[in-house]
Symmetry: C2
Subunit: 204 residues, 2 copies
DNA sequence: ACCTGAACACCGTTCAAGT
DNA sequence: ACCTGAACACCGTTCAAGT
């Protein structure tokens, strides 16, 4: 009765699992994520997912990795439409980062979770380091423009990224009231800019 | 054959559950935390924990709450032995915070987890806000001493706490290499101090 | 190559019943 | 008041077997 032959079950179980998993992750939290339920939702047997992910943890790792890739792409795009000044670029980065965090709260939690499979960790470390690379670009460029103080990269990049990621995660946890979130973010950006400013030129 | 009569099972199941839960949390991660195994470890029936925690989540919430209380106590103590200057006090706070984070990685994850029971959340929000109170004290005092720029409290406290908590969580996740952790923390402290410094007095 | 079905050992939660 | 034992509905994982 099917007009077109149905392919395997509907094409790409692996991708379908990831998509559906991320939906239920964000909707119902990580505790409610069950391989069996995923399989049920997609109309395959409960053992089918094991063909694509050896483990439940393997699926979570894949989810986290995809999250890093998406975040990195969004951050990179934010830099392309931003102005030239460090203030503009940092602002764009921060707002994009926090936007991603609030829209993907559980996913962000997963991405920075303490525990991962040792082998998947490698890919995850690499992915999170690409974000460090992006921050490095931003800063060295701003240093060349004289908008950021001189000094080894990591003495500036790590504090900035700590602040950004820290604020994003506070925003997403119960800690910060969401009513003042936008305003608070602007304070964080302003504060960060202060900390990056070059030493005021000797007055004369 | 017991020389002394055994009390109920050994006194305080609730406390015993929390203690044991935190041990296995830090040892084997949150996924390995099972109420049934906890009960087995303590030699009670698998249904016994439900007398003290209506839920698995309730136990996790209690764990998080205890974590906040312990962290707050440690931070408060760190201020009592620290010097008078803002640099000293902030440094002591930061080192203590990061020390707690690395020693209690999984617990910190739990404390700032996205999802909690609505009713437990209230207590958790209150607990995390006491930390805000501690930061507030630190800053207003430093403002009075002229070591921190003027301005509404939240424009300084939120950025500081974001940085602190952000660094602590990066340190604990896969993101930062542990080899340079101490050095990186000092950079973060120095950077934060810069961002808090009062405007340089008008030269004359 | 990809999936199924049955099986195994484990969960969390509930509830009558015991002391 | 605090705990037990059985029961229920659910897991993740494995493995022979099917196509």
């Amino acid at each position: 009765m099917q007009t077109r032959p149905r392919r395997y079950h509907h094409g790409d179980l692996r991708a379908a699992l990831l998509t559906r998993a991320e939906e239920t992750l964000e909707e119902k939290g990580p505790g409610a994520l069950s391989l069996r339920e995923l399989a049920r939702d997609l109309g395959v047997s409960h053992a089918a997912p094991s063909r694509h992910f050896k483990d439940k943890q393997a699926l979570l790792d894949a989810l986290a990795l995809a999250g890093f890739e998406r975040l990195l792409a969004t951050l990179t795009a934010s830099q392309e439409t931003a102005g030239e000044s460090f203030a503009d670029r940092l602002g764009a980065l921060a707002r994009t980062y926090v936007g991603f965090a609030t829209a993907n709260a559980e996913l962000l939690d997963l991405m920075f979770a303490v525990k991962h499979d040792p082998e998947a960790s490698e890919a995850l470390v690499k992915a999170s380091q690409s974000m460090g690379g992006l921050a490095a670009e931003l800063i060295t460029q701003a240093q060349r423009r004289g908008e950021v103080r001189e000094g080894p990269l990591e003495t500036i990049a790590i504090p900035i990224f700590s602040t950004l990621n820290g604020f994003a995660r506070l925003a997403v946890s119960v800690t910060l009231p969401s009513a003042t979130l936008d305003r608070d973010l602007e304070h964080v950006i302003a504060h960060t800019l202060r900390g990056c400013a070059p030493d005021s030129p000797a007055p004369r």
